[in-house]
Symmetry: C2
Subunit: 352 residues, 2 copies
């Protein structure tokens, strides 16, 4: 039995060279030179994916630094110059020889930045229960790693209690915007920081933060935090690190919790900002904890059960910044390190 199988061009985003400093558009190449047969090879139990949405995540820069400099080695595999970069994405199954997936399924999980990807071992992929009121792109964000990060990093690490004071840095970002809304659900008071007045407006007037400020307009972050938290911070959801974390530490309350989701200000600089206030971990008996979303994959079903009703009832909002066309991916990705994105940065692979 034979059948005609389509062979198509496959556009990719390739890493041009190991990066040094912040990722730039010129660190990537858009290639359209290869073709792919839309069929899983005989003898494989893989899947062939048509990629629809790709997630721009800050940690990806670590995988572009070469084999020696990957600080996340052990968790993720680094990228190689000349080969496609990868990350979390939403895809349609075009062909499958895997018993867990069939043609026409939609999945989210690890994929490559290209139009079609053959995945030989689809182990870190979740099947999407498609719902007409839920955009598929949400599975790169609120219903994917970003949402799970906000959920695990806030509820599991911070153990929030009603009335507690919460600070979220990079608060309009993929994870921060959810942490603020989770904090409100938990009965907390929440203040966010962001890098533009438009983002501050979003936080205060759309996402329900009690207050927010534009950190670029503040001269003295310690004084700023004292203004918003005169009695101190119970929970810091840390996305920024560096000077932000250093200003947070002396403003923490006794037995405060610092959930270290990211330190984006420190990712692309040669010399880390020195921290001067670590002593407050002792004096205020703080818990500071780093984690990876990988740690929370086992609770993904529990998370989904929690979040879906809120999404369907529009009780939790999610702001996405979707750029169309794989060829526009490098600019969108590079932009997240300077805050060019407005909400979760997503790349829609195909044009409508």
């Amino acid at each position: 039995m034979s059948r005609n199988v389509e062979i198509v061009k496959n556009k990719h985003v390739l890493l041009k060279n190991y990066i040094d400093g912040s990722p730039k558009v010129s660190d990537f190449i858009i290639s359209t030179e290869t073709t792919i047969k839309l069929e899983v090879p005989e003898g494989s139990n893989g899947v062939l994916l048509k990629n629809l949405y790709l997630s721009c995540d800050a940690y990806l820069c670590f995988l572009m630094r070469g084999p020696q400099s990957s600080s996340l080695s052990g968790s993720f595999r680094g990228f190689t110059p000349g080969a496609p970069i990868g990350g979390s994405g939403v895809s349609e199954v075009v062909d499958s020889k895997n018993p867990n997936f069939k043609k026409g399924d939609f999945v989210w999980g690890e994929t490559l930045w290209e139009e079609y990807t053959f995945v030989s071992q689809p182990r870190s992929h979740f099947k999407i229960d498609v719902h007409k009121d839920i955009p598929l792109s949400y599975y790169t964000g609120i219903l994917g790693k970003s949402g799970l990060s906000a959920y695990g990093g806030f509820y599991e690490i911070c153990n929030p209690k009603e009335g507690e004071k919460v600070f979220v840095s990079a608060a309009s970002g993929a994870v921060g915007q959810l942490v603020g809304q989770f904090a409100k659900l938990a009965g907390c008071y929440v203040v966010g920081s962001a890098g533009s007045d438009k983002k501050v407006d979003l936080l205060k007037n759309e996402l329900g933060f009690d207050d927010a400020f534009n950190y670029k307009e503040e001269q003295d972050l310690d004084a700023t935090l004292k203004r918003y938290f005169p009695n101190g911070i119970d929970i810091d959801f840390e996305n920024v690190g560096g000077k932000t974390l250093d200003a947070v530490l002396p403003n923490m309350k006794m037995h405060g919790r610092i959930s270290v989701c990211g330190m984006i200000s420190q990712y692309n600089i040669q010399k880390q900002d020195p921290l001067h206030n670590i002593k407050w971990v002792l004096f205020k008996r703080l818990k500071m904890e780093g984690w990876s979303v990988i740690d929370y994959f086992p609770i993904y079903p529990k998370f989904l059960e929690f979040i879906l009703p809120y999404v369907l009832e529009r009780k939790i909002k999610y702001v996405e910044d979707i750029v169309e066309g794989l060829e526009n991916g490098p600019a969108a990705f590079s932009g997240i390190y300077t805050g060019l994105n407005f909400g979760k940065q997503v790349v829609k692979v195909f044009h409508d």
Copy 2:
């Protein structure tokens, strides 16, 4: 009904002035000018204590800095120039109008650095179950706050598992020497650092540490830790802070735990040592937690039940450095900041 009540001279250690930098002998005054009536006043439900042993604890320096500079405000009350300093001690009840204590009882808890102390509200005092094989001085250390610190800070914070690698700084000190022994009981591999060859010898040959080093002889602490922990550290019991903590961070293993018991290297300097390696909290998904022994008072009975059999069977050893005479207290206390003590520093109030 009346009785003759003894009136005695009462020697004190007074704070002479708020301190600046490390405590020095000249920051204290030995006073023998006052007398005390060895009787609890009518209408009080306090106790009159004869102090036997006083504990030299590193945190006391914070209470000598004046009302503005006490970093521990909220936990402890600062000392006042001209008044006695205080801390944890072992005392005999000389008179009591409190239903929980009677004349002749031995207690440990907060007292003042003087021969006799009237405590109007003996709320933070534990009655000692006197045992012929247990020195009373142990209740300033292994059976008091130091032991409870080691127990809570190691078991509650670090959740040690068999085979894990443990690093203890200031390892021959009041708390460190116990953490090392607890680590061995838990089946861990434990390396300690200390400030003299004699202390290193104690750790390796008396207290059962797997290895130990003299940090004063090491040029590059990062390289030192890599030598002793080629595959990384699971648990860091932090007593020193500053450069020690900064060297520990990049040497931690994934999901490592850092229990912050103290940062003695940072207590008496104007400018804190900057920390350059905090990013490893994120990349290695570390938990770093500060705490106070106060947090563990509720589990003191459980701790005592755990530790007493080991003490009686000599399966856990405890090294004390006991100086005799209240008048020698200031020198003994000041010495702990430069590591002059060999083991737990105790002041025996009265001469034999």
